[in-house]
């Protein structure tokens, strides 16, 4: 895949030789002639109109570049919390090699029991501001959340009571390794209509390498047993997602995709665990995402491709022509509580000095104000062509790689742009 650009207009030359145009502000996609590709290549080199460029082509490019499409909109993300994640335990029965929760699910502060009264009050405060018709998400996180099923049951019951009769769309989510899902746990999640994400990185030979029990045993067989229990209550779950983590330890996205594809899921989530010196792995991951997209589209077209969450997200944004100013809602629409009700904007900031933005029902407005501006602006995305689909990148990765939440990680940018370019390529094919 090759790219050429002038101002708002990007041209993507695909490996199949097609040329796709993209307007970075209007979020419009177009099939374009080879002449546009040649012209944009020249234009991006000289950054001016070259006399050798076909004037009709240049004028058409310029006209598209200058177009302001009223259908393209930007929806600002205000500082109203509508997504709340809570650690219902800070212990885990697994010890994954890449664990970002302190290496063992404890976030450096092992707690099987949470301060549930504090969490109740916090939920009450956050739910108090939610208006009729709005959606509010409660995500049960950990550690492994299913070691604390009673906490999930009690917190869910409390949240439901808070919104009873108020016309609020309350949704529950859980991120689990699946190993503790038996009939009883599956029934709990089904009763809540929970949106369940099971973490699994691929077939046993891959997954067992990095997702081990504390005793060093592989966890795949137990996870798959849990998945079978979830499939029995499938129709009562909100949705079922598989989440796979890649990184320096594993970049084989296509292999993982082929392994997971036969299961009856709604979405696949592929994440890259950033780490120091991960440039080579990141580039291979990006290539693998592209190969996986090629494969998915070839076997099932748009429907199959959009089962991969990232592609679904970009297709929706392109269909709706909505600019994304924020990669995520951290510190705006989202807060995270640890087992003691200490609030951070992101789960990966737990226990880190200076990152706490509240405790219990007290919010540190001064600290939250630092998150108010759009991430695109805070992270200096400038004229990046992908910024309106990316939304500015991840503060956690920026800090991990560069020591500052707002200093962009170039590897993140490369793999995000690769994925977005691939999404644009197939969007053009699907909508042609």
């Amino acid at each position: 895949m090759e790219l050429a650009r002038r101002q708002n207009i990007l041209a993507i030359k695909t490996e199949r030789g097609q040329v796709i145009g993209f307007h970075a502000e209007n979020l419009q996609v177009a099939r374009v002639d080879d002449a546009v590709w040649s012209a944009l290549q020249k234009m991006s080199q000289v950054n001016a109109v070259d006399p050798a460029i076909n004037s009709e082509v240049a004028s058409e490019i310029q006209e598209w570049n200058d177009e302001v499409d009223p259908h393209a909109t930007t929806v600002p993300l205000s500082q109203k919390v509508r997504s709340y994640s809570v650690n219902v335990s800070q212990v885990c029965n697994l010890k994954c090699t890449y664990c970002a929760a302190g290496g063992d699910g404890t976030f450096g502060d092992k707690r099987k029991h949470i301060e549930i009264e504090t969490i109740f009050e916090q939920m009450r405060m956050l739910l108090h501001d939610v208006e009729r018709g709005e959606q509010f998400d409660v995500t049960f996180f950990g550690g492994e959340p299913l070691v604390a099923q009673e906490n999930i049951r009690q917190l869910a019951r409390f949240a439901k009571l808070q919104v009873a009769g108020r016309g609020i769309d309350l949704r529950f989510r859980v991120i689990t390794n699946g190993t503790l899902v038996d009939e009883k746990a599956a029934e709990l999640l089904a009763t809540l209509g929970c949106h369940v994400t099971v973490s699994i990185d691929g077939p046993a030979e891959i997954n067992d390498r990095q997702r081990k029990t504390a005793g060093g045993q592989g966890s795949t067989a137990r996870t798959l047993k849990g998945v079978q229990e979830l499939l029995k209550v499938r129709d009562r779950l909100g949705s079922l997602t598989f989440g796979a983590v890649f990184g320096k330890h594993h970049t084989g996205v296509l292999e993982t995709y082929k392994f997971l594809r036969p299961f009856d899921f709604d979405t696949l989530k592929f994440d890259f665990a950033a780490d120091g010196d991960d440039g080579e792995a990141s580039e291979e991951f990006a290539r693998e995402i592209a190969r996986t997209a090629d494969y998915a589209f070839s076997v099932g077209g748009e429907r199959e491709l959009r089962k991969i969450g990232a592609f679904d997200h970009y297709f929706r944004a392109l269909d709706q022509q909505r600019r994304t100013l924020n990669h995520c809602g951290a510190g705006k629409s989202h807060l995270f509580a640890d087992a003691k009700g200490r609030l951070t904007t992101c789960q990966w900031f737990i226990g880190q000095p200076g990152e706490q933005v509240g405790q219990g029902t007290r919010l540190d407005q001064e600290k939250l104000a630092e998150y108010a501006a759009p991430l695109q602006e805070l992270n200096n995305c400038g004229s990046c062509w992908a910024k309106n689909l990316c939304g500015g990148g991840c503060m956690f990765i920026n800090r991990l790689k560069n020591g500052s939440k707002h200093k962009k990680d170039k590897e993140f940018c490369i793999r995000t742009r690769t994925t977005i370019a691939k999404a644009i390529e197939y969007y053009a094919e699907a909508r042609a």
Binding site: G21, Q28, V29, A30, R31, V32, D33, A35, V36, E56, V57, E60, I61, W64, L77, R82, S83, S85, Q135, D137, T139, F141, R171, R173, I175, H195, T197, G238, S239, T241, G243, D266, T267, K269, D271, E302, E304, R306, K307, G309, D312, H313, R316, A317, D319, Q320, T324, H327, C328, G329, A330, K332, S333, H334, F336, G391, C394, F396, R431, A432
Partner: protein
């Protein structure tokens, strides 16, 4: 000139760039995950409240 005729004429004049039409109503497989809004409200790294 009628509006439709003008639109068609404009479309015919485009020689090198042909925009594809968005299809916001497109149905996809699978149940909605609640992450459908293009503005992410929750974390991007775990599927919570996009």
């Amino acid at each position: 000139m009628l509006k439709q005729e003008r639109k068609e004429k404009e479309e015919n004049e485009v020689k090198f760039i042909k925009k594809v039409k968005p299809s916001p109503a497109k149905e996809v497989s699978g149940k909605p995950t609640g992450n459908e809004a293009p503005i992410r409200r929750g974390p991007a790294c775990v599927p919570a409240g996009d």
